[in-house]
């Protein structure tokens, strides 16, 4: 009753509103480009061309999108239970250990389709384990999950430096990374998928973990809206007091949710490690855990929203790299600003244009009603 925004038709709510927000984000970004004395139209051209201009570019865009689908889903799952998991970054990083171990163990003896399932389990287990502790601390000790997951990002980072410089690095090598995996530790590319559309994938690392990401998205939908656990998570997310009344254990749900969230974040590691580089390097996550927060926000924590949001961020990453390549006065940092603007308008200021759009709609539907009445008379 206190909701001052009338309900909008679905296509406006999920289509028009995000599009308007996005358009404004790009307009403001264009102004920033103008400010540094460059032509925004040219930048826009490079962005779009860089993301879609060639089969290879599309491959890169989708490669990034794959990563963001995983981290976006991770954040979304926690959101539904009212938990703000900022630790996707660290969980993905640690998840890499699971991938690396599976590959180092079996890459020389087994084909990829044997190693892959083990690597999936490994990444999920390590990611879940890294999220378990913050979840457990919140459930039993009341330590706030936002704080602990941030701290665990730092711990993960130090841990991985240690592992990659001391433990997992081959003897005699100078660089902090594992050895390069044999064929069994490298995922096949999805060249045939782009081939269907007559596109040539070139050197793009677009690989089968994209399909896994889609399966995960469907799995998350099932989990949240079609399972008992998902029902309990949503109850707790909307109203902890109702969850208590219904006899749901807050600590159990907190711990399980965090582990699922961590597992999804951990699975992100498959994409760069097995899908692109064929080895685990320092800093392979590259902020994808944080991008996941924006993706989940934009996608409204729904898999059907997260996938397009992840693709959008894939475009910004891939097309953004192209801009800074073609227009040297627009640096990499500038791209980050543009991405920040998208997050700002699509996430934080999501409701800015809603009242205006709502008003537009209530007047137009009123007119329609009047028309219908006069017709009826």
């Amino acid at each position: 009753m206190s909701n001052p925004y009338a309900k909008l038709p679905g296509w406006v709510e999920y289509g028009l509103v995000p599009l308007v927000n996005l358009a404004v984000a790009f307009l403001v970004a264009g102004l920033v480009v103008l400010l540094v004395g460059e032509n925004p139209l040219e930048a826009a051209y490079h962005l779009i061309n860089g993301a879609f201009g060639r089969g290879e570019y599309i491959g890169f865009t989708l490669y990034y999108a794959t990563t963001f689908i995983f981290t976006g889903l991770a954040v979304a799952v926690a959101f539904h239970a009212g938990l703000f998991n900022i630790g996707g970054e660290g969980q993905a990083y640690v998840g890499g250990i699971g991938v690396a171990l599976a590959c180092l163990w079996l890459d020389q003896t087994m084909p990829w389709f044997v190693v892959f399932p083990l690597a999936i389990i490994g990444s999920a287990l390590f990611g879940a384990a890294w999220a378990f502790l913050p979840g457990w601390l919140q459930a039993k000790r009341g330590s706030h999950i936002v704080i602990t997951t941030i701290m665990f990002n730092f711990i993960a980072s130090s841990l991985m430096v240690y592992l990659l410089t001391r433990v997992l690095k081959p003897l005699g090598s100078m660089s902090p990374q594992t050895r390069t995996f044999a064929e069994g530790g490298q995922l096949p590319k999805l060249d045939w998928l782009l081939g269907i559309f007559g596109l040539d994938i070139g050197t793009a690392p677009f690989n089968v973990s994209f399909l896994l990401a889609l399966v995960a998205a469907f799995g998350v939908w099932l989990l949240i809206w079609r399972t008992k656990l998902g029902y309990e998570m949503r109850t707790m997310g909307h109203s902890p007091s109702a969850a208590r009344y219904a006899g749901m254990s807050e600590s159990r749900i907190t711990v399980i949710t965090m582990m699922i969230s961590g597992a999804l974040a951990g699975m992100m590691a498959l994409n760069p490690i097995m899908g692109e580089q064929g080895r685990m390097q320092l800093d392979f996550v590259q902020g994808a855990g944080f991008v996941g927060i924006a993706v989940a926000l934009m996608g409204r924590s729904h898999p059907a929203g997260i996938i397009p949001a992840a693709v959008l961020f894939g475009v910004l990453y891939q097309g953004g790299a192209e801009i800074s390549f073609e227009m040297p006065s627009i640096s990499r940092d500038m791209i980050v600003i543009i991405q920040g603007l998208v997050i700002l308008f699509a996430g934080a200021l999501e409701n800015m244009f809603r009242p205006a759009i709502t008003r537009l709609f209530s007047t137009s539907s009123r007119r329609a009603a009047v028309v219908a009445q006069t017709k009826g008379a």
Partner: protein, 511 residues
């Protein structure tokens, strides 16, 4: 004089398929108190929200003091001299009274000047209308009665001439309600116009000059209060004759189903809320717990139903102990035959953002018939919900509508249906008819008595003395956390009132 403060012409409003207001015409005379009544979901709150600019009408006109106005948002309503006190308050909980009153009306960027002025103005308003409240008190520490007073002051501070109150007495104790009515009389004598929405026909008869009745989105009648009766109004509202007091036969109490022994409960600050309470509840009887709100009834219910841990005492359900001082799993209690209709349906009994059918299984979601392994059996859940909706006449009959979009009375029916349906041995109910219309009250009361006649044990907590007297076979009165007396349902209102005020009780306890 006979000038018109507000006139609504042909107001029409739909929410998707729900036609909430159909061609409404209403005239409210200046300087009067005008009642608006109607069943749950009749469209009262919607109509008032249109007048206050929360919603836009699909068509129709609003005239204030004879001039047509467009009210696009609450600011426009305030500018037109209209103020509103909502069913659910809209105060900033951790602000002080003064800060809340100034919020949005600060007048200048530098607060200091404004604060001094606001303080003076607030003092004047308090004196003029006998609305005392400490301007520096923090809202969340005030009882609801005072919070409501702040809402009224907020409207007056913005120079409202027309004041809309949506179910203001739903949350008030009788004494607070009396005070509110004195304030409203005072406002009226100063020439203010008041629109009062309530389900309590007694209040309508006591204080209004005129009353308008809504039914299923239409305005069906307007009466001069002095020329009508409670019976006529009830009939106009529901469209049939209503039993204002449900018939019930002799109770046939049998075995003890629930026994409470020396139960003591403290709140989070360590204040004793329930103090050494003992009683038995038998199959086939309704025990009512009367008392002014805040005397420990809520905590008593919470402790018995396993939501709040007790400090000491014993509770037995069907002869077996419940570990009330340790860990209680509400799910286990449900399995053992205890059902609980909580007092606070918005935060505890329901998840407002859920679809109706999702709320219909809250707490019973472990039930095999709703599950396929770990998956929810969505078809079974919806089918069950639809059946329940038909049985309990929940409107609109749509299991997939978001719960927040049902009116208050229908939300209550959703909870009652869920808890009564499974035939529990013991049913504990808090405030079963808060904010519920007369037709639904009749329905709910009948169901509760039916449960009793089927041999169930019912523990009823209500701040409505009428309700306690109409339903209970025995009445326990709580005051300051203790049971200060037990009475028959035919005890006079005066006698119970004294007990509730703690006057008689002290004597009895001393004996």
């Amino acid at each position: 004089m006979d000038s018109i403060a507000i006139e609504l012409r042909g107001i029409d409003k739909s929410f998707g398929p729900v036609h909430a207001n159909k061609n409404i015409n209403l005239k409210v005379r200046k300087g009067t108190i005008h009642g608006v009544i109607g069943e749950n979901g009749a469209g009262k709150s919607t109509l008032m929200s249109i007048l206050y600019g929360f919603y836009q009408a699909d068509s129709g006109e609003i005239h204030v003091d004879g001039r047509q106005v467009t009210i696009r948002d609450p600011n426009a309503a305030i500018a037109a001299g209209i103020g509103m006190v909502h069913q659910h308050f809209m105060l900033v909980e951790n602000f002080t009274v003064l800060e809340n009153i100034m919020l949005g009306a600060e007048e200048s960027q530098i607060l200091n000047k404004g604060i001094a002025k606001a303080r003076d103005e607030l003092k004047r308003l308090e004196r003029e209308y006998a609305l005392e409240v400490n301007p520096d008190a923090v809202i969340e520490e005030l009882p609801v009665g005072l919070q409501q007073r702040v809402e009224i002051l907020k409207a007056l501070y913005r120079r409202a001439d027309i004041l809309i109150l949506d179910e203001p007495t739903g949350v008030l104790t009788p004494a607070e309600a009396d005070h509110l009515f004195r304030v409203l009389e005072q406002l009226k004598s100063q020439g203010k116009t008041i629109i009062l929405i309530t389900h309590k026909l007694r209040e309508i008869m006591a204080i209004t000059d005129e009353v308008s009745v809504m039914r299923r989105g239409e305005m069906v009648a307007t009466r001069t209060t002095a020329e009508t009766s409670v019976e006529e109004l009830a009939e106009l509202m529901v469209g049939r004759r209503v039993l204002l007091r449900v018939e019930k036969g002799e109770a046939k109490p049998a075995d003890v189903k629930l026994s409470v022994n020396g139960l003591t409960v403290k709140d989070s600050r360590g204040v004793t809320m329930v103090d050494n309470v003992s009683f038995n509840l038998r199959a086939g009887e309704i025990v009512g717990i009367a008392g002014v709100a805040g005397n420990g009834q809520s905590e008593l219910l919470e402790a018995i139903s396993g939501i709040r841990r007790a400090v000491s005492g014993e509770v037995h359900l069907n002869g077996k102990a419940i570990d009330v001082t340790g860990h209680v799993d509400p799910r286990e209690l449900r399995d053992r035959g205890l059902a609980h209709v909580p007092e606070d349906r918005h935060h505890v009994g329901l998840v407002l953002k859920f679809e109706e059918c999702e709320n219909a299984i809250l707490g019973y979601h472990h039930d095999k018939r709703y599950l396929n392994g770990v998956f929810l059996n969505v078809d079974a859940i919806r089918k069950d919900a639809e059946q329940r909706i038909a049985e309990y006449d929940i409107r609109p009959p749509n299991a997939r509508l978001k719960t927040a979009n049902f009116s208050g009375g229908n939300q209550q029916k959703i909870v009652l249906a869920r808890e009564m349906e499974r035939g529990p041995d013991v049913l504990i109910i808090g405030q079963p008819t808060r904010g519920v219309d007369v037709g639904a009250i009749e329905f709910i009361h009948k169901r509760i008595i039916e449960m009793r006649d089927q041999g169930k044990a019912v523990l009823l907590v209500s701040v409505e003395l009428d309700e306690i007297r109409a339903l209970s076979d025995r009445i326990l009165v709580m005051f300051a956390g203790r049971v200060v007396g037990e009475r028959d349902p035919d005890a006079t209102e005066g006698e119970l009132g004294l007990l509730m005020a703690g006057v008689e009780g002290r004597k009895e306890a001393a004996e």
